[in-house]
Symmetry: C2
Subunit: 592 residues, 2 copies
C-alpha cells in the first residue's frame, strides 16, 4: 500500500532559496522565516503521512454510499476531518476577521500539495469549502459574511459549487435552474445540478451550496445568471443549523476514481436561497471561485504526479530484475534493483523533473496571487490571470502523464490494486476534466488571455524570462546547460504568439486549432524558467557553505535533464502551431 | 453504454486498395477477393457488435469470481464463447490439418481488431489459446500436436502461458518452478506462477498450461529453462479430459481493468507436465508464443484506441455546448454539437489519424508475417522481427493515449462509469505493461534488433521508405503534403540510428537511454509511410471512378493532418536521442 513522505526539503528550497520569500517585498512574507515555514510544513506533513495517506486506499475501496438521502463517507474520514479542523488547516490563509490564520496563499499551496498527494479525494471536501469562503468574502453582503465565513473557515460547515446541469457543463448559458423571488427577499430555487463534489456527506453539521440559477425574466445566456447561497439547513438567528432546506442528494456518480469524494446529483425543490451580490452577476461571482479552483486543480495535477513518483522510486529501488549494463551493482543479490537500468532511470528522471519544476511553478504562481492581493500589484494580477489556464491545463496533463509513467515503473504490479499506484492514475485523471476541461483552458489562454490589453501580460512574461537570461549570461557553463535551451524555448514561444496575433483577425481557427499546443509550449517555458532559477539557487548554495551538497547537486542534475530532454518539446509545439488550422478543420463533422 | 460499429470499409481499404492483397504474391492471398474478405469481416463485425460489445460493461462490472477453486466468468461469457467456437473463429488462420481454416494471419488480424475493440477482456481467453496453439505446433512432438492442437483450434480447450513468478517478471532467469523427471518420461512440476491470464475459468472443458520451469541440475539463468505442457485435466487415451492434475488457482488479481478476464495465481503442486521440445530450450520455444503475443498486444493497443475514438466521435456529434466560431451551425438547437469546436476537432483528428495509421501498420505487419511463413521470405522475417517491438510498444502507448484523448472529448461524462469510455482507458492501460513492458520493447529494439546482421533489417526499412518517396516524386502536391514530411522524418530516424551505431561501443548507455524515444520515432516514421501509402491509394481512387469519393477525400485529409501535426514529433525524439545519456544517468540511485 502507498505511503507518503512529505517533500519538506524540496519545498523549503523553493520557498527560501529560489523565491527568497522573506525578502520578496510582499506584505506578510517577512514572517515566513525558514524555521516557521519548516514547522508548518512538518506539521502538515505529519497529518498527511499519518492521518490522510492511510485512508487513501480505504476511500477508494469503500467509496461513499447513499441511503435515505444520507451520504456516508468512508471509514475514518470523519475522524480525519476533525483533525483537519482542529489544526486550523482549512482557514490557514483565511482572513483573521473570520477566524482564519491570515497566512499567505503560498503557504496554503505548499500544505495543499501534501494533503492532495496523501489523499486527493478527502482533500476535496475542504478544498471546495475554501472556494465558497473566497466567493462569499468577495461578493457576499456583510450579514452573509458574518453568518457563513466563520463557520466555513473553522470547517464546522462545508461549501460546494453548483454549476453543471445535465444539458450544460462548459456552456453555462444553458442553465435552467430557476430562482423565484419571495416577499422576504429570499428566493425559491428549483432545478437539478449534477457532478456536485461534496454535495452531501456526513462530515459537517451544515453544507453551504453556491448555486447558479436564473431569476424570472433574466436575459438569455450567461448574462442572466445569478448566484445564490442555498444552505442544507437554514441557519437560525443564532447561526445554528435550523430548518432542513429543500435540497437533497438524488444520487451518487460511479466514477473512475476519487471514490472517497461524494459526487452528487442535487435536487433543488423550492429550496430557500439567498442572492449573492447583484442579480445577473452570478457568473462573475462564480469566477472568483472558479479561478481559485483552477489553480487548486493544477496543484492536484502535479501533487498526484509527486505522490506517484514517490511510489515508483521506492519500487525501483526494491524490485530486483536483471543486471546493470556493465556489471552487477548488487552482486550479493539475485539481481540488481531496476533503478540501475537506463530506461527505468529515464522514466524516473522525467517524473522527478516534472514534479519539482511544477512545484516551483505552482509556488511562484501562488506568490503572484499573494503579491496581487497583498501588495495590490496589478501586474502580478494580470500575470497570474494569464498563467492560471497554464497551471490548470499543463500541470494536470503532465501530472496525469507522470502518474501513468510512475505506474509503468511498477511493471505488472502497477496494474494491481493492492500496490496503490493504479488508484493514483485513476484519481489524477479527473483533474484534466473538471473546473473547465483542459481544452477550455487552452481556449481561455489563447482566445482570451493572450491578447488581453494588447498582449501586455504575455510580454511581461517574455521580459521576465529574457531578463533572467541576460542577468546570468556571464557564467558559461550555466549558459550552456540552462540559458541557451531556455532562450531557444522562449524564441519558440514568441514565434507561436506572433503567429497567433498575426492570424487572429484573418484565420481565427488557426489560433484556436493551435491553442492546446500553445498551452503546453507555455508550460514548458515556464518550467524551463523555474529549472533555471532552481539551478541558479543550487549553484549559489554549492558555491557557498551549504551543508546538503548532494541535494543541491541533484537539483542541478535534474535541471540539466529537463533542459536537455523535455524543454526541446517547444520546437515540436511551435511546428504544430505554425502548421495552422487547415488540416484540423478540413473534415466536415459527418465526414469523420 | 458503449456500442460498436465494425470499420469494414476502412479495413477493406487497407486490404485491397493499399496492400492490394490479391496480387501481393503471397501464397493464399490470391483467394482474398474483396467479396470474400467482405463476407468474413461482416460476419466478424456482426458477432463483435451484437454478441461481444454488449458484454463489455457486464464483464467490467461483474468481473470474475473464485470460490472453492472454481472461477466463474461474467454472465454471458459462456454463451459468447460458444458462439466464437461455433463460428470457427479461433482457428481462422490455423492449420487445416488440425481443424483450422487455413486463412492468412492478416485476416485473423482484421478480425482480431474487431473482437478486441468490442470486448478486450473476453477476447484474451481465446487469444492466448492461439498462442499456445502456435507454440505446440512449432515445438511440440507429433503426439502432442495430435492430442492438443485440434482441441485448441476448436476452442474446446483453452491455452495459457505461465512465465511470471513473484520474484521474476522481465528477468526470467530467476525462475524457480521445478520440473522433476518421472520414470514414464513425464515431469512433476512444482511452483507458483502469477498474473496468468485465463489460468482458470468456466469456458472450456480443459485448460492447457504452457509452463516454464527448471529441471534438476539445469544451468542457472535463462539457459536452464524448459517448457512444459501441464493440462488441467490429464487427457485419457481417447483425448478426453481425465484425471484432475495438481494445478490450482490460488487467487484472482484485483486489477485496474480487463475485469472480465481471470488473472490467476497458479499453484503447481507436483502437477504432471510434458516437456515441449528439448530440455533447456524452453525460453526459445516460449518466444514463439511471446512474439505472437507481442504483436497481438500491439493490436490490442490500437484496437482500444479505435473503440474509444468511435465513442468520442458519437458523443461529439450529439453533445450540444456553445456555438461554433463564426456562427451557429445548428441554429434550431439550443447549442451546436461540440464537434464544431476547433479544439474538439483537433482531438478527434488526432485520434482518427492514429487509429487509421495504426491499422494500416498492423495489417502491413501481419502481411509480413504471412510473407515470411507462406513464401518463406527471410527478408520479411527479419523486418517483422525488427518491427515487432515497435508494433507492441508504439501502438500500445499511442493506443492508450488515444483512449485518454477520447475520454477527454466526453468532458465530465468521460469520468463516469455509465458511459463506458473510462473502462476503455482502464482496459487499454495493461497493453503497455504485459508481454514485456514497453521499456523492454524499446531495449529489444535498440539493444538487440537494430544492430542485428549489421543493421540489415533497419536498412531494408530505410530503403522501403526511400524507394516509396523516389517512386512518387513526380506529383508536386503529393510530394509537398506527404513525401517531404516523410523524407524529413526518415532523415531524423537515420540520424538517430547512426548516433546509436556510433555510440554503441563507447557509450552504450547513450543508446539505451534513448531507446524509448527511438521506438516512438520509428513508430511515427512507420505511420508516416502508411499514411503516404494510403494517400496514394486514395488519390488513385479519386482519379478513377471510385464511388465513395467522400471516404477517399477523408482519408487524404486525415493523412495530411498526420503529416502536418503528428509526424514532426520525429525531430523532438531525435533531439532527445542526440542529447545522449549523460543527463539520464547523472543521478546516483540514492540521490533521487
Amino acid at each position: 500500500m502507498a505511503s507518503y513522505t512529505p517533500p519538506i526539503r524540496d519545498m523549503q528550497f523553493v520557498l527560501h532559496e529560489v523565491l527568497a520569500v522573506e525578502t520578496a517585498g510582499i506584505p506578510g512574507y517577512e514572517d515566513l522565516e525558514r524555521d516557521f515555514t519548516g514547522a508548518v510544513l512538518e506539521e502538515a506533513g505529519k497529518i498527511s503521512a499519518e492521518v490522510l495517506a492511510p485512508l487513501n486506499a480505504v476511500g477508494d475501496a469503500q467509496g461513499c454510499t447513499l441511503a435515505n438521502g444520507v451520504v456516508t463517507t468512508p471509514e475514518g474520514f470523519r475522524d480525519a476531518y476533525a483533525r483537519i479542523c482542529e489544526g486550523g488547516w482549512i482557514g490557514l490563509d483565511a482572513d483573521p476577521d473570520y477566524g482564519g490564520q491570515g497566512m499567505p496563499y503560498l503557504l496554503g499551496t505548499a500544505v495543499g500539495e501534501m494533503f492532495v498527494s496523501a489523499n486527493m479525494a478527502f482533500n476535496m471536501y475542504h478544498g471546495l469549502t475554501h472556494g465558497a469562503y473566497s466567493t462569499i468574502r468577495a461578493h457576499g453582503s456583510p450579514e452573509q459574511k458574518d453568518m457563513y465565513l466563520p463557520r466555513l473557515v473553522s470547517g464546522e460547515w462545508s461549501g460546494t459549487m453548483n454549476l453543471t446541469e445535465p444539458q450544460c457543463g462548459t456552456d453555462l448559458g444553458l442553465i435552467r435552474t430557476k430562482a423565484e423571488p419571495q416577499e422576504d427577499g429570499s428566493y425559491h430555487v428549483t432545478g437539478q445540478k449534477i457532478w456536485i463534489s461534496g454535495g452531501e456527506h456526513d462530515l459537517t453539521a451544515n453544507i453551504i451550496h453556491l448555486v447558479l440559477a436564473r431569476t424570472p425574466g433574466a436575459p438569455e445566456g450567461t448574462k442572466g445568471i445569478s448566484l445564490f447561497i442555498v444552505p442544507k439547513f437554514l441557519p437560525d438567528a443564532d447561526g445554528n443549523p435550523g430548518t432542513r432546506n429543500g435540497v437533497t442528494c438524488g444520487g451518487l456518480e460511479h466514477k473512475m476514481g476519487i471514490h472517497g469524494n461524494a459526487t452528487c446529483v442535487m435536487h433543488y425543490d423550492g429550496a430557500t436561497g439567498f442572492l449573492v451580490g447583484k442579480e445577473h452577476a452570478g457568473l462573475r461571482a462564480m469566477f472568483t471561485m472558479m479561478n481559485e479552483a483552477r489553480i487548486g486543480v493544477g496543484l492536484q495535477g502535479y501533487a498526484m504526479g509527486a505522490a506517484a513518483h514517490q511510489q515508483a522510486l521506492a519500487f525501483a529501488r526494491e524490485r530486483l530484475q536483471g543486471r546493470a549494463h556493465g556489471g552487477a551493482q548488487a552482486p550479493d543479490k539475485p539481481a540488481d534493483p531496476i533503478i540501475v537500468h537506463a530506461d527505468v532511470r529515464r522514466n524516473l528522471m522525467a517524473q522527478k523533473a516534472f514534479v519539482e519544476g511544477a512545484r516551483a511553478f505552482a509556488f511562484w504562481g501562488a506568490s503572484l496571487i499573494d503579491r496581487a492581493a497583498r501588495a495590490d500589484d496589478a501586474e502580478a494580477e494580470a500575470l497570474i490571470s494569464l498563467l492560471t489556464p497554464v497551471i490548470k491545463g499543463f500541470l494536470t496533463d503532465k501530472g496525469f502523464e507522470t502518474a501513468v509513467a510512475a505506474q509503468q515503473t511498477f511493471g505488472g504490479s502497477g496494474y494491481v490494486r493492492e500496490w496503490g499506484i493504479e488508484q493514483m492514475v485513476r484519481d489524477a485523471r479527473i483533474a484534466m476534466i473538471y473546473e473547465g476541461t483542459n481544452g477550455i483552458q487552452a481556449l481561455d489562454l489563447v482566445g482570451r488571455k493572450l491578447g488581453q490589453d494588447g498582449g501586455k501580460a504575455v510580454r511581461a512574461f517574455f521580459t521576465t524570462v529574457a531578463a533572467f537570461i541576460e542577468e546570468n549570461r556571464d557564467d558559461a557553463e550555466f549558459a550552456r546547460d540552462f540559458l541557451d535551451p531556455l532562450e531557444a524555448a522562449l524564441a519558440d514561444m514568441q514565434a507561436a504568439s506572433g503567429y497567433f496575433l498575426k492570424q487572429a483577425a484573418k484565420h481565427p481557427q488557426d489560433a484556436l486549432a493551435g491553442a492546446y499546443d500553445f498551452m503546453h509550449l507555455f508550460g514548458h517555458v515556464a518550467l524551463g524558467l523555474m529549472w533555471s532559477r532552481m539551478a541558479k539557487a543550487a549553484r549559489a548554495g554549492l558555491a557557498g557553505t551549504a551543508q546538503d551538497r548532494d541535494f543541491l547537486e541533484a537539483k542541478l542534475a535534474t535541471g540539466r535533464f529537463y533542459m536537455a530532454r523535455e524543454l526541446p518539446a517547444t520546437a515540436f509545439f511551435r511546428a504544430r502551431i505554425e502548421a495552422g488550422g487547415a488540416s484540423v478543420m478540413a473534415l466536415a463533422p459527418d465526414a469523420f
